[in-house]
Amino acid sequence: MFIVLAPVWAAFAQSEYAAKVTLNTGQSFVVPHLDVQGERLMRTGGTSSVALSMVESIEFRFTGVSLSMCESMFSHGDRKALEGVLEQSIGPAAQFCSLPTNLGPYLLWWLRCQFWNGSQAGAGRTIGYIRQTGRPELIDAAGMYFVLMLLDQDKPENARTVWESVADPAAVSKPMTAYIQGRLALEAGDPQRAMRYAAELAAFYRRDEEWMPPATLLEAQIYQKMGQPLKAAAAAEELILAYPDSQWSEQGRKIKMESTGTGGG
């Protein structure tokens, strides 16, 4: 079946995506873009349609984007570029997230980029899309990023409420869980407990590209709270040295300046 369809996929290479629709009957077909009208999915040309209730799955394929590419670009720090790529390719398909699609993991990569790039509005929208997928593990992950957004917006009480709604944070990411717990503990005025979480990251996830830099920043902030400016400066120095030309080095300089009066790296 797929061999027959292969040329069809190729024909859609110029569009942002193509979608392979599989019906409950086992039949499948490929469309260059999804056209959903009411409760029906229109087939190419609009000449025929199928009821959405007949659709078992929709597999999107995007031009020039794959999950492994997302992972690679994200871990290499190309988060701005990846956000742009996903905006362009996933964006048009995101509206179909409530259908049984393979969009979920792409949406999560998109959210992660938006979060770290500071695209608050976009991240809020993507969280909404992820919630519509109905996949608990993705909803938990989105909820965890939402917690961090709320903390960044200085809304700790709301953050705590959202955090409590996350069913299994450790299953999403243990380092992220430790980081959030550290942030919440610091907000709750318990710097010592916060430090234990930050230290846990250093002990167990020392090469985690996503969570090690914020954990180091958190460590520096905790030292500031504890009234240990020299230690705060030492942690800030790490941010400056290890993450050049990034928001982390900028924040490191700021903390170092606050702690020692000099922000040089």
């Binding site: 720090g77 930050a198 230290a199 460590e219």
Partner: protein, 954 residues
Amino acid sequence: MWDARNLYRGAVLVSAVWLCALNAPAKQELRVKGKGLTQSELSRLDPQAESTSVLLESVKALLKDEQLAEAQPFLEEILFRLEGDGTKEARRTYAYSLYQLAYCQMKLGEYVSGARNFVRFADEFPDDEQQETARLMAAQCLTLVQQWPAVQEQAAAVLEDLRLPEELKVTATQLLSEALYQQEMWSEALRPLHALFRMAKTDTVKSGAAVMLVTCYVRLDDFASLFRFLPNCDRGSRHDVGLNAALLEAGDAHYNRGEFLKALLLYRQVLAKSELLAHYEARLREVKTAMKPFVAGGKQTLTDYKKLQEKQQALFDRLSKQYDVIKNFQDYDTDVLLRTAQCYNDLGRNWPAHAIYHRIFEENPSSALADQARYSAFSVLLDEQEWALATAEGYAYVEQMPNGEFRDDVTLNLMQVRMQQQQFELAYEMGIKALELSPEHKYIDQINYLLGYIRFQSLDYQEALGRFSKILSAWPASRYYESAEYWRAMTLLFLGEFGQAEPAFAAYLSNPKYPQKQFEEDASYRLGIAQYGLEKYAESEKTFKAFTAAYPESTLLSEAYAMLGDLRGAEGDLDAAIDYYRQARRTALHTAQVSYPLFQEAKVLELDKRYGDIVELMSDYLRDYGDAGDFANAAHWQGRAYKALDEYPRALQAYLDIIDEFGGDPARGGVDVILNEIVSDYRSEALSGYQPIIMDQLDQHLNGAAEKGGRTLVLRYQTVFAGITEGEEHERFVNAVVQPENVPASGPGTLVLIAREGVKRGHWSMVHDAAERFRTHFPVSNNMLYILIADLDALIGEGRYAEADGLGEEILQQFGYSRSVGYARKRRADALRLNGEFEKALEAYAEVLGIREWRGPLTPEALYYSGVCKMELGAVDEAFAYFQRIYVLYEEYTEWVAPAYARSVDCMEKLGGYDREIVNTYREMLANENVAATPEGAAAARRLKELVTAEAAL
């Protein structure tokens, strides 16, 4: 620690591998040209005699057969003959021969000659298509003899050709990179290395380039570029063992230079063993899978197949070797983690360090490094001054690793932490445990010194003396010797062993062992105290005078003057004494140093009958120090002076003024001391005339306090009234005071009243509340024993006998065998008896009977209940003996004599055969009027009547 150096070298010195790869095409080209020569053919050929064409043919045959050494003389002869011949054919043959000679030399290990001839070839035949290959061959030969500038020159020359074939470009770049790298031209090496990393087609070359790039960045201190490069490293290079070893070694280098942050960042980049192994396992599988059996008739020739197989096998062998190296590293991950944690620690970032150490020993409890990690987890918390967590970590070490390498360090540190936290008993326990676990403790002298010091602080001078003496006798070279000598003298002083203390201080002060005595000042003062104790007053005075002259800035100066005052006062030199006391007050550093000479001066003034001066002195003191000073004692002295002047109303007024001023605060126990003085005055025969005045004044002040709403003060005055009134009036005041809601506002005197009356009323919870408040707020009050006894009575009243037993023990430990403790111990015995523990109760009563200070009213009671216990245990005859002792020896204690008679009769009835004695006992009992008037007496009279009647009837 494992040495990364060998691995690192193995990875960086890739020239040999590159060389083999480059040799292959040259060999291939030569082999197809000749047929080879046998030894007999060779023996018939003389290079100098043969024609050039024969020489050339022979060379080709020899080269084809890899007979390189044999080919050399032929090639040299050809070059000799054609030298200077400019014909085209001759030049071509010359070029060919020169190249082949260089090749043979290279293959035979004559790298310098080979390189020279390759360069000669390239220089003389710049248009030859082999020119660039020749330069690269030259560069490779030079690599092997490590002539790096020459390698650089040849490789750079090759790279000048912009149309250079890709394969040669890679090789030339490799050679140039390594030449620059080996010359430590880090900055210059970066460009070719980046180019090489980009162009390299094989993992070996790519990884080699990555390793060198990392090293260059590290050596250039360019961490920004390093951390940009590493994430972009492909998986193969990133997982290369050489690259990781390079990171580790670079980390070590920075660590050793004290650059801990850079070291930390480098260690952090080192991949875990499991990651490296997984990568190598996958690569080995890939290579193995690629080594398929030959399929005849396919696109690949057998020769090509074999060549590829050889290449794959070489790769497989190399990967296997590296895999084995990684696998055989014991504690690789632990070691990296330890180094990382150490960096955090050196940066003062102790929390991450602690988390890592914790992880190490949690995950690798049997690792050789677990012990070190566990100790480090403890020590970083000490650095962080997280005492509670550090203590928990230290105790866990001692518990789980009693034979650990760092046991002695941990136990000593724990002891010191406990001491720093003022937890001296726990410190002592740890010290004892340290010596138990390690009889040859690394710090045995220090442990003993600290143990001695703790015992001294706990007033256990005998053990302290033993510890300090042991240090002096067992460890004369100890750094604690001087301290031990001083503290031993101090201990003797506190033991009252002045005869030994004096020479001990003198010996310390004259010991030439100490260039600078750390306790000289203190010892000089204590020497005077010891002499004073020995009644060597003249020497003592001399010592104190010398002290005041030698240490005018001493914190003990005031006390020395006070001692001089005492010494002069004892000699009757009152003016001089007063002078010294005033000097003592002038040089005082705190209130206690003011108070002592002040009250001593008052005593001297009293001897001189200068009562007005005393009143004035105390007024000034109260004005200057108020409640910060000893206001109760000042009030006492004022009152005493007024009484001596026969002006009691002024004394009373002075008392009441101070009570009104400070009595609103329940915490000021001194107020109760003054109140007690008023009670005492009220009861005094000499002042009985003032009773109405006292009552009236107290009433006025009680009303005044009530008007002002001062609850504590009101309770205090009511407590006094409860103490001096009787009958209904007394009950009225007691009822007003003894209420549970009054406990929080009560001072110590009121709490004692509440507790005692609470016992009488069976209001146990109120008694406990009062006792609890007393213990918390007035731990050093003189009334502590009374409140504890009330608490003990309450526990017994509630039937909480085990707790009562415990409290009875606590009272003994706290107050020793003082007279009032006897009652508490008797109550403890009662608790045991009431709990049915008769044997223990008997022992407890025996204790009460055995202490001389406790003899008196407690004795018949203890005897009586000892008898009761014996009865319970079935030892009726022994019980009988106890009861008999009471009415024989303690006749005046009717309350015990009467029941003792009754119990004696019970015993006789139980024993049987004592009918006559029973009648006689009743008669004896009733002969004592006091006993006859008791309920037991009445019962005895009835029973005697029955017995006499029955006897008469018989």
